[in-house]
């Protein structure tokens, strides 16, 4: 075992045992700061001794015994031994062989209570949230200062200072080492729960920081919650918090895209929810109910999470139940955010009007000013009610408020969808619908011109004032037959495409039911006439970064020369007339000519070769399949690029075939 291995082993034992050790020491010496120092001494001793002596059989007990010995030494030095400690020191001195295990038992009768006391102390309300979190992770989670700093994206000295100050505050206030009783208890407990949930949420929702560490924070919070549930089993809210965290953690694998973009609950792949954690969540919720008492905020939030976990698909979600739970939650936790969530649940359960009514009451809420979810929820509800223009404004407002980039993109997309949907509110005649359809921003001018011809013909034949619902597919078929029945198949298909697009658009906006092109069959276009790639696509292709020289030269040559693919691939270096921008075909009877684009690239492609195929494959041929001598480059040993391979590469890159590169 190397010393690095031992260090990690010591660290692992430390994380498992530190809470028990420190808690026991605080009871002995009465001061959190001193207890931690003594515990650190024990840890140092382990780091020094274990690499040589090997890890002891019961490492936890070893650490505990050393720590206690240090504590007793300290108390002796400071002459503060009371009877109890005297007794302990005596036991330790007289029973050296069995001391470790027995003393453990002697001291550990109520070690669980000590850990619980330690939790209450480190989450003391006199400390700031930052200090509570840092102290709790350090004392109860055994995390090193450096680990806490990394998890919260702050510097190590900052964390160290928070811990030191927190310890001093606790000493100054003489905070007793006890589990509070009476009316104080509920308040102090809610402070502990808050700290644990804060740690969990830092791990669960933070938008920055290392994923792995954040996962660890969630796990640490869960561990603390489960520990607390074991120590305080009669508190319903503790089980509620554990249930809430288990259920939320069960979704962690499903809640983000591989790139980190969040996935909304209703769109998550429920197959990726962790059923082991779901089951633990349900068990914890059951314990909460068994513990009884009034329903607190954590139990209610867990019950809501459980409703989601129970639904095998988003559609099966029991929204009525969730809305009812939110109504109860709003009573014990009357915050605007809870009301907003309740509005969402109400909308899902009883329709968008119900949700919007509640959401509208929150507009004056100062706490929600600047909170992007209010406009985003309102936008969603307005869109569902068909109030697209208002919805668009809300989505745009939400997008401006959120700091999360992926979320902003989603919101702007929704705003654009609303903007598109808002146009047809102008009316329902054929002319109005056609104008709105052609007026969409996403259409390019060529499409507008082409669709415009088709729709123009329909308007002339049917009349501008005809309501769109009065247009029937049979009538459209008649018009088509008389206008383009004799035209080329491609022309017929182009007009047919325009009508299909128009009627899909009108259908999506509720202006039309049924397909106006249903009587129009697609006509077979004669083969052999390939449609060239449109100029804008070609321009984009030449601009594409990372394109290989061979590909760029071959594609440009095919485009500029309009020569058959086979003869271009058959070109040999010795047949090129670079200055004349042309090359002799293999048959030797014809010339292939190109223009400046290709001419610029060819010297680089030839790269000093004097003969052999111009376009070469990437690899040398295998020994089993020697190519014909004419297809082998004598200088590089590579074979001529085959038609199949060239075609495959182009198809992969563009989705088109090489022959479509030919200009008309």
């Amino acid at each position: 075992m190397t010393s690095g291995d031992t260090h990690r082993a010591v660290d692992a034992v430390w994380k498992m045992e530190s809470a028990r050790i420190i808690a026991g020491l605080v009871r002995m010496v009465g001061d959190v700061g001193l207890a931690e120092e003594l515990a650190q001494d024990a840890l140092l001793a382990a780091l020094e001794q274990w690499p040589e002596s090997g890890t002891p059989d019961n490492p936890g007990a070893w650490l505990m015994a050393v720590a206690k010995r240090r504590a007793i030494d300290h108390l002796r030095r400071h002459r503060r031994l009371d009877v109890r400690h005297e007794q302990l020191a005596h036991e330790l001195a007289t029973r050296p062989d069995t001391a470790e295990a027995d003393l453990d038992t002697a001291l550990d009768d109520d070690v669980g209570d000590d850990v619980l006391r330690l939790m209450f102390v480190s989450c003391h309300p006199a400390l700031s949230h930052d200090a509570q979190v840092a102290l709790t992770l350090r004392l109860l989670g055994g995390l090193r200062t450096e680990e806490i700093a990394r998890a919260f994206l702050v510097s190590e000295p900052t964390v160290a200072q928070r811990v030191v100050r927190a310890k001093r505050t606790l000493a100054d206030l003489k905070v007793p080492f006890e589990v509070p009783a009476g009316p104080d208890r509920a308040d102090r407990l809610s402070s502990v729960l808050e700290v644990i949930y804060l740690v969990f949420n830092e791990g669960y929702t933070a938008t920055a920081g290392d994923d792995w560490i954040r996962h660890d924070l969630c796990h640490e919070a869960l561990r603390l919650g489960r520990l607390l549930a074991r120590l305080a089993p009669d508190e319903a809210e503790v089980h509620g918090l554990v249930a809430l965290m288990e259920l939320q953690a069960s979704r962690s694998a499903a809640r983000t895209e591989p790139g980190g973009q969040p996935i909304a609950l209703h769109e998550q792949n429920r197959g990726r929810w962790d059923l082991l954690l779901v089951r633990r969540g349900f068990t914890a919720l059951l314990r909460a109910r068994q513990a009884g008492g009034p329903l607190g905020p954590y139990v209610l939030q867990a019950a809501i999470a459980a409703c989601h976990a129970r639904a095998r698909s988003a559609e099966e979600t029991d929204w009525a139940q969730i809305a009812a739970l939110y109504a109860l939650l709003a009573r014990v936790l009357p915050t605007p955010v809870v009301q907003l969530n309740r509005a969402v649940a109400l909308a899902m359960a009883h329709g968008p009007e119900a949700g919007l009514e509640l959401a509208d009451t929150l507009l004056a809420e100062p706490a929600l000013k600047g909170y992007h979810r209010l406009p985003s929820v309102r936008g969603d509800l307005l869109a569902k009610l068909g109030r697209h223009e208002e919805a668009r404004r809300e989505f745009e407002r939400a997008a401006a408020l959120t700091l999360n980039l992926p979320e902003r993109t989603i919101l702007l997309d929704r705003a654009a969808t609303c903007a598109a949907a808002a146009i047809p509110e102008v009316g329902g005649t054929l002319a109005e619908a056609a104008t709105a359809f052609l007026g969409r921003a996403e259409l390019d001018p060529a499409t507008v011109r082409s669709y415009g011809q088709t729709l123009g013909r329909l308007r002339r034949e049917l009349g501008d004032d005809l309501p769109l619902r009065g247009v029937h597919a049979a009538r459209v078929t008649e018009i088509f037959t008389s206008a383009w029945g004799e035209a080329a198949a491609a022309t017929w298909n182009r007009h047919r495409g325009a009508v299909r697009s128009f009627s899909a658009w009108a259908g999506a906006h509720g202006l039309l039911s049924g397909d106006l092109a249903s009587g129009l069959a697609r006509r077979a276009e004669p083969r052999g006439r390939t449609r060239p790639i449109e100029p804008p696509r070609l321009a984009a292709l030449w601009q594409r970064p990372g394109l290989g020289l061979r590909e760029r030269a071959l594609w440009l040559m095919l485009h500029e020369s309009a020569a058959p693919v086979g003869s271009v691939l058959a070109l040999n270096v010795e047949d090129l007339d670079l200055a004349g921008r042309r090359g002799k075909t293999a048959a030797g009877s014809r010339w292939i000519s190109w223009r400046s684009g290709t001419a610029e690239l060819l010297p680089g492609l030839v790269a000093g070769r004097r003969r052999g195929p111009l376009f070469l494959s990437d690899r040398r041929p295998g020994p089993g399949r020697p190519p014909a001598p004419a297809d082998l480059c004598p200088e590089t040993g590579r074979r001529r690029l085959s038609y199949e391979r060239a075609e495959y590469l182009f198809k992969q890159a563009t989705g088109h075939t090489l022959s479509q590169l030919r200009s008309r």
Binding site: A12, H219, R226
Partner: protein
Amino acid sequence: MRFLMTTKANGAAPPDEAVYAEMGRFVEEMTQAGVLLATGGLDPVGVRVTATDGTITVTDGPFAEAKEAIVSFALIEARSQEEAVELSRRFWKIIGTGEGSIQQVFGP
């Protein structure tokens, strides 16, 4: 991190009641702490399924020597491999004699 701990049949006599009771306490404590996610005993005989280029062969066991068969498993959640090792130490301390392995589980 999740780890799968497995134990092999060791041919030793079945544990006595005291060991059972102690193991019961250990399992309960680990479950409550959220460390132990799932556990169970396995039939050492089993059925073997082999697939070769889509051809599937099913054979009834036993296959290896009895002491090589895996007879129990525990799925645990730990913060590090060292913690998993330490937990397994505690487990084997109760059992006394035997053999097993610890493997990290990737996913879900």
